[in-house]
């Protein structure tokens, strides 16, 4: 019995796929780097309360202040990354900033995906007028650059992270809708859908059991590439003052605090380097990590590139 099972495992196509995927990833340094970086940030985000203990009775996402002087202080044993304008603890802000980044990134991408799947499925399955209308809507939304449309929404909803999250979801769902719609159209063109219908499968069942599995891979690839873009756009909005309030642990917001200090002090132009270099590096690495991961996934799952 055990012998049969062993052979099954080794020869099972799924296991071989997995082995092939892992092998491909192992051979590619950028992929490994991407995975490492993403794991690093995930770790930081999960263990934020341990790495940077929040002050009691306070919203942990607000950075603790140690004074009121506007002049940032350089890194020291007490403040590993120094303080920024208004004496906010930079180390704290950066650690919790990872959490903020994940919150926004994952939330926006996840919700956009769900909305996109629903709308895309409806458009692709029912076709006709419904499809046309929905696609025109996505076209128009996609016609705008993300930042600008998000800005318009934020002005409507008011400042704050919730606003930009909501705005970004509204901006991002169309690309998922298009992707899913494309897949649905492809699948419904196949004969087995007719067969399933003849047997009596409900529309919903067909969509879930046949269409969705085909879309999983492209969706995952799109999602991992998008997390980087979403976080960048959210950071840009926070930087402009439209997102996180002052003092919030958000990388974009933290960088905006450094704007007055980039020219440094007289005689030492880089006196306040830590206020912009450190948060920027973290933001950059986060985005790059996810971009590399997305690329690696695409390399692995793209059927055309695979066989070479």
């Amino acid at each position: 019995m055990a012998k049969v099972k062993g052979k099954f495992w080794r020869e099972s196509p799924r296991i071989r796929e997995l082995a092939f995927i892992l092998n491909r990833i192992r051979r590619s340094p950028p992929s490994i780097a991407g995975i490492a970086i993403v794991l690093f940030f995930t770790f930081i985000a999960i263990f934020a309360p341990v790495l940077a203990v929040p002050q009691p009775n306070r919203d942990p996402y607000i950075m603790p202040r140690y004074g009121f002087s506007p002049i940032p202080r350089p890194p020291s044993p007490e403040f590993p990354f120094g303080t920024t304008e208004g004496q906010y603890d930079l180390y704290y802000g950066i650690i919790w900033g990872a959490r903020t980044a994940y919150r926004i990134g994952v939330l926006v991408v996840a919700v956009s995906m769900i909305i996109g799947i629903v709308i895309g499925s409806i458009a692709g399955y029912y076709k006709g007028v419904v499809d046309e209308v929905l696609m025109r809507i996505t076209d128009i939304i996609l016609a705008f650059p993300a930042l600008i449309l998000a800005m318009a929404f934020v002005v409507a909803f008011g400042r704050g992270l919730n606003s930009i999250t909501f705005a970004l979801i509204l901006v991002w769902w169309p690309s998922y809708a298009r992707l899913v719609r494309g897949e649905v159209l492809k699948v419904t063109a196949e004969d087995f859908v007719e067969a399933a219908k003849a047997v009596g499968c409900s529309d919903f069942r067909i969509m879930v059991r046949h269409v969705l599995p085909n879309t999983i891979f492209p969706l995952i690839i799109m999602a991992s590439l998008d997390i980087g873009s979403v976080v960048l756009t959210a950071a840009a909005l926070s930087f402009l003052g439209l997102g996180a309030p002052t003092g919030y642990a958000d990388w974009g917001q933290i960088i905006s605090l450094s704007r007055n200090w980039i020219t440094g002090a007289p005689g030492n132009p880089f006196a306040y380097w830590h206020t912009y270099i450190i948060p920027g590096v973290f933001l950059f690495l986060f985005v790059m990590g996810w971009n590399l991961l997305g690329d690696a996934l695409r390399d692995v799952f793209d059927p055309m590139i695979r066989r070479r």
Binding site: R24, R306, R307, R308
Partner: protein, 363 residues
Amino acid sequence: MQPPILKEDEQLKIEDLLVRFYTYEGIVKAVEKAKLNLRLGETLGIVGETGSGKSVTALTIMALTPTPGRVEGGNIYFRLTSGEIVDVLKLKEVELLKIRGKEISMIFQEPNAALDPLYTVGDQIAEAILTHRLPEMLERVNRLKKKEAGSFLMRLPIFRGFFEKKLLNQVVREEIVQLLRLMEIPDPERVLDSYPHELSGGMQQRIVIAIALACSPALLLADEPTTNLDVTVQAQILDLIMRLKQRFGMSIIYITHDMGVIAEICDRVAVMYAGNVVEVAPVKEIFKNPLHPYTRALLESIPKPGSAFKSIPGTVPNLINPPSGCRFHPRCACVMKKCSVEVPQLKEVSKEHYVACFLHGDV
């Protein structure tokens, strides 16, 4: 005294050709010690299933093995029009550029894919002509210039270059029109200004042939040129190729999986299986007396009205881990113990009839 590499009447000789493809999944041993020879003016057919290595062999004759393929051994001796003999695999790129399109040409399976969609077909034929026959064209331009020497515009140096270019275009156009007429294309003037997608499959293939023959090559490689065409068009193109062969006198290597075509136009046939040449014989002989089990199976699998449909059991082997010994042995009805151990070599069994099989040729 060393015997000459090529006999007097030989055009091409492939010896021990070894081609491997380095892919992520492993090393594909696409062509394994292939041997072929071709006589001047002969039409040699290469027949085999997909994966037999026939296309790779053809491309390698022009040193155009597609990446990630690498030629890892063997020689390809070729006799140029001048009589000189070269080993294609040892030539430098500069020299190869003079051979491709001029001494050896190729026509392809999908004519639509073989033409650049962004240029007119005339442009693409002109490329071949201008690359290899430029001196000849310029000579004609000079003759034309002398005729119009008196013209005013010719006196001005600024305009001269312009004018010469115009004359060159004119001369090349005329040549292309002639070529298209040879291809039996009606209304050549209009066709040469057309884009590939505006032409039918048959027309496109005639264009591809025109490009190949524009510089009168000594050898034409035809990689399944009629497989993707309608049956009636197929017949027309085959006819055309034969007529052109009469006229140009080139040798042809004709790759196909269709034994019917082989019967119609080839003098000799080489059968390839999984990267090996397994049998070579004159056409009549191979139909009358096929010796290799694979060849026999191929011939038997041709559907005949009234008899049952016969196919060859098994599938084409994985070339990353090919079967040991004779690569056909897992599917062979006459397999012996020896077949899985040793690789059979091509041996001459009767006049001009070579087989690579332990059933035959053991002297």
